[in-house]
Amino acid sequence: MSLLSIEHLSLSIGDTKILHDVSIDVCPGEIVAITGESGSGKSLTALAVMALLPRGSVTDGHIFLENTDILRTSERDLCRMRGCSMGMVFQEPMTALNPVQTIGDQVAETIIIHEKTSKLDANIRATAMLRRVGLNVNPSRYPHELSGGQRQRVVIAMAIALRPKLLIADEPTTALDVTTQATILELLKDLVTEFDMGLLIITHDLAVVAEIANKIAVMQEGHIVEAAATYDLLHNMRHPYTKSLFNAATHKVILPEYIPAPPLLSVESVTRTYNLPRVTVFGSRPTFQALAGVSFHISHGERVGLVGESGCGKSTLTRAILGLEEVQEGQILLDGQPVFTKKSLNLPARRKMQVVFQDPYSSFNPRHRVDRLIAEPLHVLNNSIVGKYIEKAVSKSLEDVGLTPEDGTKYIHEFSGGQRQRIAIARALIIEPELIIFDEAVSALDVSIRAQVLDLIAGLCRKRQLAYLFISHDLSVVRTITDRVMVMQSGKIVEQGDTEQVFSNPQHAYTQKLIAAAPKLPEVTYNVEVI
């Protein structure tokens, strides 16, 4: 007897059909993962189970939790069920917690709402639950005093406070670092066995899916295209979409051979310290060292990766290299010229460097046309560039990234995330820079789009000599797209070396921990017969 069974669920909002005939079963003690790319309907499936669908949703089919059909239950009864017989863990632990309530109170609240019990008893149980999820801090702390992983533990504690039979986790580890992700996944697995819960986990990360789930359902455009037990699915893939998804996740690009060349960018013992707000009125200000004596070189045409967890100083380093921030000690030279001189950036050096940012949605001014956006870097070149040349350069860059010159006349909102990232690369390419900094440039993209963008970058390397610094938290991507990799921890580069060597034989303890924590996709095999 399954705990949750979604039967032929269809959902439409307005005239848009979002889910088509979705059926999933979850048994007690079982972990079922729904995976797919953005817009595939996986989150809405989870929300349908909680009956938290947006207004105007029209559903068809059944969702049975034990013997109750959630789609045909009144809101009052649903309120009694939410938190009690089903709990939910959200993606972003900071926004899922109330910042002005202590974590103990927030966990206790769930208990008080559903059970007639004293506040004291609820508090005692909340404390016990926080300890159970591995959080050994005082329950009178506030969310902002905790780290991301600790906050996610609080969210989990809230969801399981009443030992629900079903737990739904919507991208529970996407916002977390790899090492934290590993511990949270471990915790979820333990809780499922201990409480004999059913866990429905929604994630786009195939490696996480393969590691944690007993059963996998792959969704595409509102359909479940393939669903099977994890082992079967991985070793006997049937649907072409599943195959392409797993192919894209393990996508390897072919980089041209790196020919040793003189250094292009040299960062020499750079230190950056920030002043923090005063703790007491007259005390001195505490400081935070974001970069502590960082030194490295990037040669002409060399592809270098930089990995590290959040807060390790990656962003500060990027900003320092781009000349957006002054460093206190050391110097950053690009082709022998400092990038930052006399309180402002050095334009001659800047002409050789461009950047591609992470978020394809905030990297463009929504009020400018694409050709104007792409032409923006031409500003750093001499002013002798005129209309005709700009037009030609814009079309050439657009073609370089696989778009057409006509796309220049459109506005940015007409493009998808992957196309926007191509436009961002086109903007970086227009001044033919020698160095491009990719700051988490593919992290916000779906796997198939990510594979295309990685191919594009590799293709550009084949066409012309291009050096880049590829900053990412995703080790598998860094492994394929770089020649050399640097590992950063608390403002220091703890290890650097040839990419393959660092990954296959890490020397530093932190690198070893990082590589061990990263979920890995097992070898997949394909079924030859195609449906």
């Binding site: 781009l322 957006l324 950036l345 334009l347 800047r350 460097m353 461009q354 950047v355 940012f357 992470q358 978020d359 905030s362 990297s363 463009f364 001014n365 929504p366 009020r367 956006l373 923006e376 870097p377 500003h379 750093v380 903007r427």
Partner: protein, 271 residues
């Protein structure tokens, strides 16, 4: 298109049209007094009646619309022309000493009760429409400066501004090319709201005789003149009062409607 926006725009345009028509034609000359014809209730010759000097109330309201709108518009214009650049500058140099000075200066102006200071200014420099404009305008500056800075600050952290900086563009240029176009619609909304406050301020100043001087007609002065006659001829007080009410209501509805229309979050929810 929300209903409020349509009604608001209609009311506003109606009074603007009245003011425009008054340049070409008014039913009666308001500088000719006809005491024999005083305090007539609305009739076919005088649609809105006449006041205690026998002047046509409709003509006075039309001329008054001109004064009110001109004073409020110019005052908002002063506020925007000085406040927006100040705010953009402050946001570009956030955290600097100059930013601090500008914002504390704003606080200083905010700390004064605006109407009392406007009275002070007009009392010291003489009561006239120009001084009323300046007095109201000064108090519009910090409103725009602060709003501009507040909405520009998050934009400075956006990636497209970073990439413009990477392209070596100056702070001024980024402010003009990237920041300003993205905050313009908010400024229009705030401008509408300040406009309605300007109408009220102008009416208040001329009510106590510190705004436009006779024979220039103004709604506030009409109210003041009619004050003692309310029991005998209520229409003389009602008409300018309603004019102020409807104009302010129209502008507020329009401001509200425009805000809903420009706010992408609200737009998304609707579709």
């Amino acid at each position: 298109m929300s209903r409020g926006l349509v009604i608001g725009a209609f009311l506003t345009l109606f009074f603007v049209a009245l003011a425009c028509v008054s340049f070409l034609w008014v039913p009666y000359d308001i500088e000719t007094l006809q005491i024999s014809n005083k305090l007539k209730t609305p009739n076919l010759n005088h649609w809105l009646g006449t006041d205690h000097f026998g002047r046509d109330v409709l003509s006075m309201v039309m001329m008054g619309a001109r004064t009110s709108i001109a004073v409020a518009l110019l005052a908002v214009g002063i506020g925007m022309a000085i406040g927006v650049p100040l705010g953009l500058f402050s946001a570009a140099r956030r955290g600097s000493f100059l930013d601090e000075i500008i914002m504390r200066g704003n606080d200083l102006i905010f700390a004064f009760p605006s109407l009392v200071i406007a009275i002070l200014i007009t009392a010291v420099f003489g009561a006239s429409a120009v001084n009323a404009i300046v007095a109201i305008g000064i108090f519009n500056i910090p409103v725009f400066a602060r709003l501009t800075r507040a909405v520009a600050l998050p934009l400075w952290e956006r990636d497209f501004v970073l990439s413009a900086r990477v392209c070596g563009k100056s702070e001024t240029r980024i402010s003009v090319e990237h920041i300003f176009p993205n905050i313009m619609n908010l400024m229009i909304v705030q401008g509408t709201i300040q406009f309605s406050l300007g109408i009220l301020a102008e009416a208040s100043l001329s009510y106590i005789g510190l705004g436009a001087q006779p024979p220039t007609a103004s709604w506030g002065r009409m109210l003041a003149d009619a004050q003692t006659l309310v029991s005998i001829a209520p229409h003389v007080a009602l008409v300018p009062g309603l004019a102020i009410l409807l104009m302010v209501l129209g502008l507020n509805l329009m401001g509200d409607g425009l805000r809903d229309r420009f706010d992408p979050r609200i737009k998304k929810n609707r579709t």
